[in-house]
Each structure stands twice: as C-alpha cells, then as structure tokens.
Symmetry: C2
Subunit: 321 residues, 2 copies
C-alpha cells in the first residue's frame, strides 16, 4: 500500500521530475567539483516537500506549469543551500542516510556551494517572477538564518522556554514552508487572501514538521537518515526536553544535561522524557499544528490537490525520514 506521502507524490510525480531537471539547469556551471556536489545532492533526493506543496497550491490557484516548475525548483535549491550550511554548523556527517557535502568535500567547498546555490535560486526567482516574491522570500531566508543563530548561540542553554522554542522553529522552518505555499498562489496572481491562507497552511504544517523532526532526532518515529541524538549532543533543546525540564523529574534532567559530557539521547534521558509524558506532549503539539493546517483548507473547493494538501497534514506526523 502506498503511504500518504507516496500518494501525494504520485499526483505530482511528472512535475517533480521536471522540477529536478530544472534544478540541474539552474545550477549548471563549469566546475567539476561543484557539479559533483550538486549531483550528489540531487541524487540524495529528499522528500521534495517544499516544492510539492508549492506545486499543489500553485495548481489550486491556477498558476501555469511554466510558472510553477521554476518556482518549485528555486525554493528546493534554497532549501538545499540551507541544508549544506546547516550541516557544516552541525558538523553533520550524514543526511538522508548518505554522507553530507562537508563530509565528502570539506567545509570550504560546502560554504561556497551553498552561497552559489542561494545566488542562483534568487536569480531564477528574480528572472521569472515579480519582485514581491523576492522580498518575501529573502526576508524568510534571513529569518531562517536568525533562527539558526538563536538555536546555536544561546547564552543560557537550559533556560529555553517553550515559547522561545516555538519562535525558533517558526523562524528556521515554518516561515519558509509557509512562504513556499504562498508563492504557489502568488504565481497565478491569485488574490492576497488566498495567498495568505496558503501561507498560514504552510506555516502550521511547518511547525508540525519540525516538531516531528525533533522527535525523530531523539529516535522516535523511525530513522531520519541522520545520526540520532545530534540535538542534545550540540546542546540544542527541543520540545520534549523543554517540557521535561519543567516537569517532575526536571531537576534530575537538568543535572544530567549540565554535565560536561552531554549524554545525547541516552537511555536515562529518554526514560525521563517518557515518564513525564514529554514525548506524548510533543506529539500532541505536532498534531494540533497539523489540525490547524487542515482547518485553513476548510471551504476550498474539492480537488485532488486539496486532498493532497490534507493528506500532507497526516504525512508530516507519520513520516519516517
């Protein structure tokens, strides 16, 4: 049986293949190593979640295929660029089960390839589309960087509040997904209210996506294709941990995490998270964001695309990678 995500992809498989070709064309250049790095990234695949959502909102809004393919390619390239730089910052060696660009070719090539990809993606957006797209998109990219900076450079690590966590994942993940959904609608010149609605849809689903991703990092929900326990190892506190720090065993957990050697996703940490219901708490929060995303769609005319957007609200909670 096809998973919900496969159903979503089946509807778009033809267009997603075109998006992949377009990505190759936008990033074409005359440097062998850069080409290899780009090929590696394209072959590593990934879920193509952002371009898929953009294609769906674009189709619902009546945007032409000629507009939606390059727009979807541009946002995926931006996403790829942020991943390359994040993997350096996180010193990640694996992504989607394959070695990262920095693991294969070192940090320097990764920095420059990321910059190159950002620039080419902006260039493609500027060439094809209206300036408003660029204003929104570049603002969101600067928010993503701020989110990453807030996550990685925080003075009092163990005092992160739930509110700060939610703001951070909004900045680093949800706003960009929201913007991809809005862009889909804007391509057709759809009215602002529809565009803003899709933005909200994307932002909510993005929140659910990131909370689920953070659970995957702790080993909940299957294999992420990345190393498990990275967040704690790097002192990044995610929702279940923040919740548990405020709970019955908070003091014990605080002592464990204050140690010089952070036990990453050690057995003891996970036990405290489970005992206090913190895993369930995070799952519920993810579910409630996914529900909000679905509600935003209420009243839109029925279509395979709308159903796909609805099923994406399930997929983000279930995904195993």
């Amino acid at each position: 049986m096809l998973s919900r995500f496969e159903v979503l992809h089946e509807l778009l498989s033809d267009e997603l293949a075109c998006v992949d070709t377009e990505i190759g064309e936008i990033l074409e250049c005359n440097h062998h190593l850069l080409n290899e790095a780009v090929r590696h990234l394209r072959e590593s695949g990934g879920k193509r979640f952002r371009p898929a959502l953009l294609l769906l909102t674009a189709r619902i809004s009546g945007a032409s295929r000629e507009a939606r393919i390059p727009a979807a390619a541009a946002v995926e390239i931006m996403h790829m660029a942020t991943l390359i730089h994040d993997d350096i910052v996180d010193n990640a060696r694996l992504r989607r089960g394959r070695p990262t660009v920095n693991a294969l070719w070192g940090n320097n090539l990764s920095i420059l390839s990321g910059d190159f990809m950002f620039a080419r993606a902006f260039s493609a957006l500027a060439e094809f589309f209206r300036p408003e797209f660029l204003v929104n998109m570049s603002k969101v990219v600067s928010e993503m960087c701020l989110g990453e900076i807030h996550q990685n450079f925080r003075k009092e690590r163990l005092n992160v509040t739930e509110e700060e966590y939610l703001l951070r994942i909004e900045q680093k993940t949800a706003l960009f997904i929201g913007e991809c959904c809005r862009l889909g609608a804007m391509l057709s010149g759809a009215c602002n209210s529809l565009a803003d609605r899709f933005f909200d849809y994307g932002r909510f689903i993005g929140m659910a996506f990131q909370i689920t991703d953070d659970l995957l990092d702790l080993g909940y929900g299957g294999s992420s294709g990345k190393e498990v326990g990275k967040d704690l190892q790097q002192g990044v506190l995610t929702l279940p941990v923040i919740h548990a720090l405020g709970g019955q065993h908070g003091e014990t957990l605080r002592k464990m995490l204050s140690g010089d050697i952070i036990p990453s996703a050690s057995h003891e940490v996970l036990r405290i998270l489970e005992l206090g219901g913190s895993i369930g708490y995070a799952r519920d929060m993810a579910r409630s964001f996914a529900d909000k995303a679905r509600e935003v769609l209420t009243g839109l005319p029925e279509s395979p695309e709308k159903r796909a957007l609805e099923s994406a609200c399930e997929f983000v909670l279930e995904r195993h990678s």
Copy 2:
C-alpha cells in the same frame, strides 16, 4: 595633503555616513552576537569602494538620494557577506588590521551571519528596486562564488594560465564592481547604454583593483591589513607568479612551489619575481586596466563626480590598504 581616495571620499562623506546608518538599519536584528559581529564589521570600516562608485555613477545618472543610499548600503552588505565567508575559506585571522569575524566568534557564526547578510541585502534590493537589479546582482554573486571555487579547488595548481587568472579575478571581483556601477545608473532609469558603460568602467577598475590587491598580498605597495603571503601559502597563484613560472627562472620557481612546504612570500620567491620583471609586469597590467576604465569615461560631461571616477583609476593602483 589628501590622498586621491580621500578626495573621492570628501565628495561623498555625507552620503557615505548615511550609507553606514542604512547598513545598520538593514541588518538590525534581535540577536546580541550577530549585532556585535555586524558592529565589528562596520567599525572595521574598509574603503567603501563599491558604495562610493555606486553613489558616483548614480549621481551622474541623476538618481535620487532616496534611491542611491539604500542601493549603496545593499551592495556594501553583499560585499561584507562575501568577505566573511572568504575569510573562513582562507582561514584568515586578520582583515583591515583587525581580527576577522571567524577569528573572534568562530566559523559557525560566520557562516550564518554571512547568509543572514546576503538575505537582508537581497531583501533590501528587492524592496526598493526593479527586478532587473536583482537578476543582474544575483547572477554576479553566483559568479563570485564560482570564481572563489575555481581559485580554491583547482586540480593542477601550477598550470594556471594568465587567461584563467584573469577570468577568475573577473568573476570574483570585477563583475561585482561593474554591477555596482551599472546599478548606480539603473536607479535613475538611465538609458542602457550609459548603464553598460558604467558596468565596463567598474569591470576594468575591478581588474586593476584585484591585480593590485594580489601585489599587496606579496608585500608590494604597503600594508594590506591582512597577513602577507596568504595566497601562496594557500596555493593560490596570482599574476606575478604565473608570469614568473613562464619566465627564465620558471623551473626553479616551479620546484620551490612544488615542495610540500610552500615558502609563501619567502625571500627567494620574491627575488625570482623581481628578477624576471614579474612584479613590473603585473603593475603594468593593472595600469592598463585602469587606463581602460578611464577611457570609458571619455565624452561624459565634466563634473566633480566624473573627476572622482577618474581619480579612482589612480587610487586603485596606489592604494596602501
């Protein structure tokens, strides 16, 4: 007596101060470390060469002050962002005589701040101006990255030709300076021929600028505020070295540079460069590009701004930092 560059700056001092304020506003955010890094970069100053040229071509073309200040700020931010990333790639500890961002706060903050600055600069350009500006500018940024990649990731280091060198410095330096000059003209909606003329001016002066910069790296022409001999240390061959490799003492030089330990700007290397007239050769080449830049200005109505652009053709050859 004021140097040529100080004369140029005197004409623009008021506007350059506004550009600096604008840079601060565009980069305003709520993260203390990022703010510190931005303040450090602003205080480190630099020549503000690109915004100065943009302001001059904008004034000649009749662009309003309201348009030229944010445009000049945006290009300077893009330049600052490339410097931050280049300093990581080059592992540079000093720039303009002060510690680099990576030396002070590490590579991770440098990567993310550079991305943040790129995004905010694009955002400012997209907000204020026409999409063509973005297309050109983002293309040029992707060329800069390619230039850096070509420079840093080359298989057969010692076989770089003069042609490849010129292409590389055009990509990494000259096209962007050209684009800044073109942007100045485009702000006023000036005719394309004037904009293209300023692009050529900037491109030529950019070539002269980079060749002179490469001479500074070898210790010729005063202190650059950076460490001397960095290029050779990193296996980056610049014009004098490429010239000398093809000259009478080429084989000796090749052997010296093939060693495991590259003697950087050691006495012996410099002696070979001087003996074979390679320093003079590079100086002449820089001079000839500066002359080409000046020629492009022929026929433009006389004005303080035109004279400043002309004096910039001397400044790029003389500069001591």
